[in-house]
Structures are given as structure tokens and as C-alpha cells.
Symmetry: C2
Subunit: 260 residues, 2 copies
């Protein structure tokens, strides 16, 4: 980094949702200059708005203050190995990937925005937590400056904690979404209007924001109501039945009742 | 019922959350008169505010337009059998109980408010859907008048559909609450501040209100990312591992990938 008065220079490798949202926040930021965007295939039309040098070959990347690798987890190691410079700060953006996966020829870091991104849904980045990690304090401070230019929520999180966060996020976001999808499907199959359940959905969410989830637990498994549980299982089959049984057992055990 | 100009008379059997919330909405309603409250044990202090005759013996109940049995599912049949009158309209309030569980000596109905009730959390009943069912049209209309005095959301739902709704509600409310409880527990055990996940929690529910859950699905299982799934499973054990595996398999299969 070349002092506080100068811009922080970046390059971003990747053409997916994370690369797109990072471009969105850094492109118009006075303190940041994105020098190059690199993707192994052509960029989608979403990226046309960014007047930045676009390349498809990692070997053409120039040294910058921070090179951000925002590619799929399994490609991070290979991309970092192919970078044509050394001794610079290189970070990945993955929740589930250890910092050590990055090649040792550059200084390593992580810049992980904890959000579920879709290209077509705008994100208010001020509310998105960014988890940073680096191997030395100076690099951590550079990442902090970069993160604080995007959000007020910056956390220093090590690789193990980041994996824990990622698992929690999968349970809280991806799994609850699937359960609500199943609820809706079950209603539709049986010609029950799903709108009847919408107020309950809102209430569920409001309650969770205000109370401890384990204290607020209700339902047949919480009160060990075996008859209702059996009735429900008799109406379910396949994956739905497995899910019902598994979560019910977990709730039963959490509150001291015997499993099914 | 004694015509539109007269009040609808009720008695309520039960001393739990549903009985309490029903009392709350009907007690101050000009069109309704609650004649008696009956519970086999003493009423909790929550009920002190209601200046209504309180009894502990079902045999002392007098005939009214609608007798509401708001006791636990397994007691509905027995209570309805013990009622000291016949030919009157008697309803239960259970999501998971068939209308036929009620004794045949009175006319049968169901008055099911679809909400997760806690005694200490006030409920805006205008937003609570009430599902009604009766064996003849005249009784259905009486139940509709009662329901519309409490909420704008009244649905005629038969016993089978009501069971479907109840299963969907358990998945959407009780199960998602448990998953979020686990997320929080995992974070706390590993000294990761749970607040990092709060913006994701808000975004999850906002997205679900606006999009089709099955179209909005993201995460490792959605993109068939076996490496991340294996990494997560390696960090989990017991019920949590079972839940992770079961829901992941369901998501994998929903989107055409092979199960684990």
C-alpha cells in the first residue's frame, strides 16, 4: 500500500456473484481503484457497466495492493499458484476455505462477505458483515481499510471460525429456505392456500429476532406430543418424512425427551 | 343462535394459551358474551382479568350458542363426551384433530386459529388466520360470524386440509426455529459472535416473502458442492450431523443431483 493519501489498488479474479457485488461497491469508491478484472471465460453482460480492463488470462494480471480471488472454492489454489507476481497481498472470498489454500508465493489473506448473493437482487452492503483474516498485522489493517470502505460491520475471524460461521449460515439460510419450500409444496399438492401460513411465517421471524430460539421453541416435539408426531409421519413419505423425523428427534433430545 | 340482534353466547373449556388468547379477543367484543370458563385445575393469574364465571367441572357447563373446547388434543374426545347438554354446537381448536373426534351427542365444528401462541406475547388477532369447519351450513355460518369478529382472515378448511396446514406450520415455524437455535449454539460453542449472522437472517426472511423458495435456493447442496458438504459434515456430529445430511440429501434430490 502506498500511504493513506493514495488510492488502494485492486484486481478481482472471477465472474460470478461475489465478483459482481464487489465490483459494484468498489467501482465508484473514491479510495479504491480497480485496475483489472479477470475471468477465464467472457464476462456476462452484468459487467458491461464497469469501465475496467477485462482480461481472460491470469498471467496478464499486474501487481496491485490487493488481488481478490473470487472464484469457486475448488479453483482458489490453482488460480493463486498461476498469479504472475509474488510478495503481494492475495486474498480469497470463501467462507469454507482455509487461508493456507492460497499459494505461498504471495502474502495470504481472506475477505469474506457473509451474505447470500444473487446477481439480480441489489445488496445494501452497509449491512453486510465482512470477515477478514491475514497472516500479519499490516495486511490485516489494509484489509480492514478495504472492508470499512464497504460496510460498518467488519470482523476479524480466523479460518476455523469462518468455517463454523459458514455451517451456521447454511443451516440458518439454505436449510430454512428449503423447509419453507417444502411447506409450500405440501400445501399446493393438497390445494390448501399457502397464504394462510404467511402470517405465521412473519411471526416466526419476528419472534426469532426478539427471543432466544431455544427458549421460544414450540410445537409437538417440544411438548413431546407423540400422537401428533405419529399422525404427521403417517402423512409424509420420502425426504420429507426423513426430515420430519430427524429434526423432531433433535428437538425431543434437546428438551430431555426420548427419541422416536 | 338467537338472531343477529342478540349476542352470540360462548363457553370456553381450557386454561392454556389458546383459551387465554380466545378470551382476550372475545371478552371485550360487543357481539359476543362469554358465559363460562371451565378448566379442570385452577386458572393461572393471567385469567384474573376476565370477570366471567369460572368453573372446574365440565358437568356445570350450561348450553350456549358455541362451546369451544381448547384443551390438549388427547383430551378433546373425553371432554366433549362429558358435556352435560346435547344438540348444541361444540367445536375444538386443534390443527391436528379430526372433527369426528368430537362426541356425536352435540353438533360438531372446528375453530382453529393458525398461530404459535405464547401467553406473554400479545397477538394482533386481526392478522391471525382462523380455519373453520362444521357439519352443516348453518353452523358454518355461525362459526364464520364468530371468526370474523376476531380477524379478517377466515378460511373454510376440512379436517384433512387442516392436518396438512398443521404439518406445514410445524416445518415452517417449529423446525426453522430449531435450526436457527442450532446455528446460534454452534457459534457460541466456538466463540463466534452470533450477531455476524443477524443480517443474513433478516435477508433470508425478506427473500422468502418476495420469491419462490425453491427458486431462491442457494448453498452447497443446491450447487452440488460435495467438497464443502464433506467439510461441513466432518465438523458436525450427533443430531446436528443427521440434520445436515438429511436436509442436504433432500436439496440434492430436489435439484436433480445424486444423494450423498
Amino acid at each position: 500500500m502506498k500511504g493513506n493519501s493514495q488510492k488502494l489498488s485492486l484486481s478481482i479474479v472471477g465472474g460470478g456473484n461475489v465478483a459482481f457485488h464487489l465490483m459494484n461497491i468498489f467501482y465508484n469508491n473514491d479510495k479504491i481503484e480497480v485496475k483489472q478484472l479477470c475471468n477465464r471465460s467472457c464476462f456476462t453482460s452484468h459487467f458491461e457497466q464497469f469501465a475496467v480492463e477485462k482480461i481472460t488470462n491470469v498471467s496478464l494480471l499486474k501487481p496491485v495492493d490487493i488481488c481478490i480471488i473470487a472464484v469457486k472454492d475448488s479453483a482458489i489454489s490453482e488460480v493463486s499458484e498461476k498469479l504472475p507476481f509474488s510478495g503481494n497481498l492475495v486474498v480469497h472470498t470463501s467462507g469454507n476455505t482455509d487461508i493456507d489454500v492460497l499459494s505461498g508465493k504471495n502474502r495470504k489473506g481472506v475477505f469474506y462477505p457473509l451474505q447470500s448473493f444473487s446477481k439480480d437482487i441489489p445488496v445494501d452492503f452497509q449491512e453486510v458483515p465482512i470477515c477478514i483474516e491475514a497472516q500479519d498485522l499490516a495486511d490485516l489493517e489494509v484489509l480492514r481499510i478495504l472492508a470499512e470502505s464497504a460496510t460498518s460491520k467488519v470482523y476479524e475471524i480466523n479460518s476455523f471460525q469462518r468455517k463454523i460461521l459458514h455451517i451456521s449460515a447454511v443451516m440458518m439460510n439454505n436449510f430454512t429456505n428449503h423447509l419453507i419450500g417444502i411447506s409450500k409444496e405440501i400445501c399446493e399438492e393438497n390445494k390448501v392456500p399457502f397464504e394462510i401460513l404467511k402470517p405465521l411465517l412473519s411471526e416466526t421471524f419476528e419472534k426469532i429476532q426478539k427471543t432466544e430460539p431455544f427458549e421460544a421453541q414450540t410445537g409437538p416435539a417440544r411438548r413431546n406430543d407423540r400422537q401428533t408426531i405419529e399422525n404427521h409421519l403417517a402423512l409424509l413419505s420420502g425426504n420429507r418424512k426423513e426430515i420430519y423425523k430427524t429434526i423432531t428427534n433433535s428437538i425431543l433430545e434437546t428438551y430431555g425427551s426420548k427419541k422416536l
